[in-house]
Amino acid sequence: MNDSKPDSLLPLPTAVFHILIALADRDRHGYSIMQDVAARTGGKVQLSAGTLYSSIRRMLDQGLIEELAESPDPSSTDERRRYYRLTRFGKRVAAAEVERLNTLVQQARATGLVPGA
């Protein structure tokens, strides 16, 4: 689906990385992503609706996520909700971003900038 290399998208904007993490364990709709991000960060990161959907638009364009044709939650009463799922490419990009951050952390430790673990 996407022939670009994961590295070409790095570094990921914070909002995009948070959304990728939120979608890692299950498919979610927009509000659920927001709540998940807020919960994981202890309320420190609050995505706004504009930032969220602007990011989602871009991530769909880039093939990081895909929209589900129908709701994965049959009990859901609200048909207006749209659900999103991480793509295989999205997972590779997330992994590449983690790798990038890891290297950075290791370098910071190796040079003594921060104490080693």
Binding site: G30, Y31, M34, Q46, S48, A49, G50, T51, L52, Y53, S54, I56, R57, D78, R80, R81, R82
Partner: protein, 908 residues
């Protein structure tokens, strides 16, 4: 809650429509849930914070999303452009030509006619007390018109005004003409530099400060101040911007001056279109322009040579200042002429007055001369751009029709019409932007050509192509207007039909949309209509040039050399001048290949003029201004050398010497005006110079000849013998008639002059053709440009017509195939299509004829020997347009007639 949702929905309108359609509902849903959460758990503070976030969100995210859509459209536009390179090339090229021509001519039109003096402080406050359009010097010795508004002022008059005109906060004076000097900076060689003399207040009145050093002060007018200020441009060009120039000595003629300062960057002074290298104080005149005192007036002569500029005091109106200045001016005239002039002359002199005019645009010797040409050219290129736009609109219409299936598909997939129009218009904008950028290069070259055209008429004219904000705004506006003109309508059309209809139409491949065809046909008619006035204008101007170059001068304008010599050194002694000239003419006539030689004070087409106040025997002047005539001082054999036939009597001969009875020859215009049906031979014509009267007996009448102007009527003129004139000519022109090609004789002529008097300076030496070239330069360039514009218009019209027909025929393949299958002959198919074309061509030509007629007054004043409504030119232009139109129509028609019905119908 409902109200909150409505407010948030309104906020969503800040996002681009595609984004809003896609995610608006989701965002609303999310926001509603956030708001509900805040109401349940928090208080008003949390709710307020949510709104603030939403507002900030809109401010930051919405522009990003808009930018994203624009980029997407531009990328799409570039892809489409790449997919049809020939269309893209035609579009960019025609826009570059159209917009570039408009930019160049607008820039010059604005620069010459309208823009304020560059680098001058608050130019709109500058006032001028002399005539901005005139440059030169006049001593007021003859009386053609001595009353009325004054063109220039004398130094004395300026001093009076400067010291006593209280309505002005300051006044300054500058030499009206720009002088080319040979100058030498210490340690350097002699070189050419242009400059003018200015008063001490010059720089203060113009409100400019020096880049380095200082400028002149009022004190420099009161003492002999041997100083010079150089221009910024000259400083950079000649001295590389080094401050060591300050204190350098520059030698000009008999004066040694010290450079005290450099003018500011961009400053050219008070005359538009001229770029002086240096400014010198007025008081240096006797040193730098030796030979005559221009600073003091001795009755009856005044030396008028200065432009005067000033700034009004805040509470003073121009009318008040004018009245005050005239009171001072008249008091000066009264005391100057009171004693010397008498009667009518005195009344005329005292009737002179000053007019106060806005001076912000500065003086300009070319402004009036070129106003008409530039305005007509600006109108022409405006029309050219319209034609180019109509042409592109047409091509886009055809392309829009070809893209209908794609557009229909996108509409049926849910794209909104507004979105598609936006995308199509973005394509037009991208095309126009590329055309606009290329246009700057076109403008640069065209501007250079136009400046050279003006410089041929006035060698001192300089104006570089300055992409100043106004010119750039004009280019941008022209580009945008063009894009909207040619882009919006086709986009509107292309997205008009419903999705289903268009898809169906495509699948059937049926007869084309008639409305679309109608629009295309209308645009082609419009193009033809707009092209006709351009072609007619080009034709009229081309005929003007033809007429000018073949104008009957009254003598053969070929094989004639004009050599101007400087007699000032020899002038000390009148008899020496006589013998020198006699010797010179005798020697020149002996050169092999020379048939005759004579001389004239005025020369031929020299740009100068000389007039005298006269009294004619037996003629009672009808009015105040019926007592003057043009005059020339000529050598023996002037008429036979020039080849002007003598109608009555004889010409000026060798025997008309200083001591012989004074004689003159008059031209037919003179005879007609002053002698009517009387025989002029033997009558007396007296030239009156104030109270000095010199009478000449008329000995001959020469045929009217044009030796000074190509246009207008031949003026009455009388010719007196060189040796009998009251004052000898200072720099006469030797007229040398050669037997064959004159160029090879020139070297021998130079050698002969040197042999006769090695110290005699030759001021200029050229053939009559070279001498006359500048006279028609403006006409030639205007005509050339008009012809180029006409050809471009014709080409575009042909492309438009061809495009519309080819497209229409392609859409009608089925119908034509059926006709052929039913037995229609190829000739009949061709004539059917040509017949359909005649209608739209006819409508275009009829409208164009009307436009050409209405626009003819625009170039009326530029024409010579041809009427603006000349039927022949109109018929020829119409014929040419018709021919091109039918040729453009014939190609697709012929192709249609060769259609193989089986193949065509199978494709359907």
């Amino acid at each position: 809650m409902m109200r909150a949702e409505a407010v948030y929905k309104a906020l969503l309108h800040c996002y681009p429509a595609p984004f809003r359609h896609e995610y608006g509902n989701q965002m609303l849903l999310v926001f509603a849930e956030q708001l509900g959460e805040a109401r349940r758990t928090g208080g008003r503070l949390e709710q307020a914070a949510l709104w603030v976030y939403a507002a900030l969100d809109t401010l930051t995210i919405a522009p990003k999303e808009h930018w994203h859509v624009i980029l997407q459209d531009v990328r799409y536009a570039l892809r489409t452009m790449k997919a049809s390179p020939s269309f893209t090339a035609v579009a960019i090229l025609s826009l570059a030509l159209g917009i570039g021509a408009n930019t160049a001519i607008f820039s010059l039109w604005n620069g010459v006619l309208h823009s304020s003096l560059p680098a001058v402080h608050k130019p709109e406050q500058l006032m001028m007390l002399s005539n901005p359009d005139d440059t030169g010097m006049w001593t007021g010795r003859w009386d053609g018109r001595t009353d009325g508004p004054r063109s220039w002022l004398t130094y004395g008059e300026f001093e009076q005004l400067r010291d006593h005109a209280g309505g002005f906060s300051a006044l300054m004076a500058s030499q009206s003409s720009l002088i080319t000097w040979q100058v030498r900076f210490e340690g350097g060689a002699w070189e050419e530099a242009r400059g003018r003399l200015v008063s001490g207040e010059y720089f203060q009145v113009l409100g400019v400060s020096p880049a380095i050093g200082r400028t002149f002060t009022t004190a420099d007018d009161r003492a002999d101040a041997p100083y010079a200020v150089i221009s910024y441009d000259y400083w950079q060009r000649r001295f590389g911007g080094s401050s060591e120039v300050l204190g350098k000595t520059v030698t000009i003629r008999a004066a040694a001056l010290t450079v005290i300062g450099v003018g500011p960057s961009g400053f050219i002074g008070e005359t538009s279109g001229q770029q002086p290298d240096l400014w010198l104080p007025l008081r240096t005149q006797p040193g730098v322009l030796p030979g005559k005192d221009w600073l003091h007036d001795t009755p009856p002569e005044k030396v008028m040579w200065l432009h005067v500029f000033g700034r009004l005091k805040p509470e003073v109106t121009p009318a008040q200042a004018e009245a005050q200045a005239n009171a001072i001016f008249h008091a000066g005239l009264e005391s100057f002429y009171g004693a010397t002039a008498s009667g009518e002359r005195r009344r005329e002199f005292l009737d002179q007055r000053l007019r106060i005019l806005p001076g912000g645009r500065g003086a300009s010797p070319v402004r009036n001369q070129f106003a008409h040409t530039l305005t007509a050219l600006l109108a022409a290129v405006g029309v050219l751009l319209l034609i180019a736009c109509a042409n592109l609109a047409n091509l886009l219409l055809a392309r829009g029709a070809a893209r209908k299936p794609e557009i229909a598909l996108r509409l049926s997939l849910g794209a909104s019409r507004g979105r598609l129009i936006r995308q199509l218009v973005t394509e037009s904008l991208a095309l126009a932007a590329m055309g606009g950028m290329a246009a700057i290069a076109v403008a640069y070259f065209l501007h250079g050509g136009l400046v050279r055209m003006i410089a041929e008429s006035d060698p001192r004219f300089r104006m570089s192509f300055a992409p100043d904000p106004l010119v750039m705004a004009f280019t941008l506006a022209a580009t945008l207007a063009a894009a909207l003109l040619f882009g919006v309508f086709p986009a509107w059309q292309a997205t008009k039909t419903g999705a289903g209809a268009s898809l169906k139409e495509q699948s059937r491949g049926a007869i084309g949309s008639f409305r679309q065809m109608r629009t295309g046909r209308f645009l082609v008619s419009l193009q033809l209509a707009l092209s006709l006035p351009l072609l007619v204008g080009a034709g009229l101007l081309a005929r003007t040039v033809y007429n000018l170059q073949r104008a009957d001068l009254g003598f053969p304008a070929e094989r004639l050399l004009l050599v101007r010599v400087d007699l000032r050194e020899a002038l000390q002694d009148a008899t020496r001048t006589d013998s020198l000239l006699r010797e010179l003419l005798g020697q020149l006539q002996r050169i092999p290949g020379v048939r005759a030689a004579s001389l004239s004070q005025l020369g031929v087409f020299s740009g100068g003029e000389s007039s005298s106040s006269i009294e004619v025997e037996g003629y009672a002047p009808k009015g105040d201004h019926d007592r003057g005539s043009a005059v020339d001082v000529v050598g023996p054999g002037y008429f036979s050398t020039l080849g002007v036939p003598i109608r009555l009597g004889r010409e000026i001969l060798e025997s008309d010497r200083r001591e012989a009875p004074k004689v003159c020859v008059i031209n037919e215009a003179f005879a007609k005006r002053f002698f009517d049906r009387r025989n002029p031979i033997g009558m007396r014509v007296a030239s009156v110079d104030n109270d000095k009267r010199t009478a000449y007996q008329v000995v001959g009448v020469a045929k009217n000849a044009r030796a000074q102007n190509l246009r207008g009527d031949v003026e009455p003129r009388f010719f007196v013998a060189a040796q009998q004139a009251p004052a000898s000519a200072k720099s006469p022109t030797l007229l040398i008639r050669t037997a064959s090609e004159s160029a090879p004789v020139l070297a021998a002529v130079r050698k002969t002059i040197q042999r006769v008097d090695a110290a005699l300076p030759i001021l200029s030496a050229k053939s009559i053709e070279a001498q006359m070239a500048p006279l028609t330069a403006q006409d030639r360039t205007t005509a050339q440009l008009a012809v180029v514009f006409g050809c471009v218009a014709l080409t575009l019209a042909a492309i438009g017509l061809y495009g519309v027909l080819a497209y229409g025929i392609a859409r009608r393949r089925g119908e034509i195939a059926v006709r052929i299958a039913l037995g229609a002959r190829p000739g009949r198919v061709v004539s059917m299509i040509l017949g359909e074309t005649i209608g739209l061509v006819g409508a275009g030509l009829a409208l164009g004829g009307g436009l050409a007629y209405a626009a003819s007054h625009l170039i009326d004043s530029l024409l010579f020997g041809v009427a603006p409504q000349d039927p022949l030119t109109l018929v020829l232009a119409t014929g040419l347009l018709l021919l091109v139109a039918l040729s453009a129509a014939y190609l697709p028609a012929r192709r249609a007639s060769k259609l193989d019905p089986m193949v065509a119908l199978r494709q359907e």
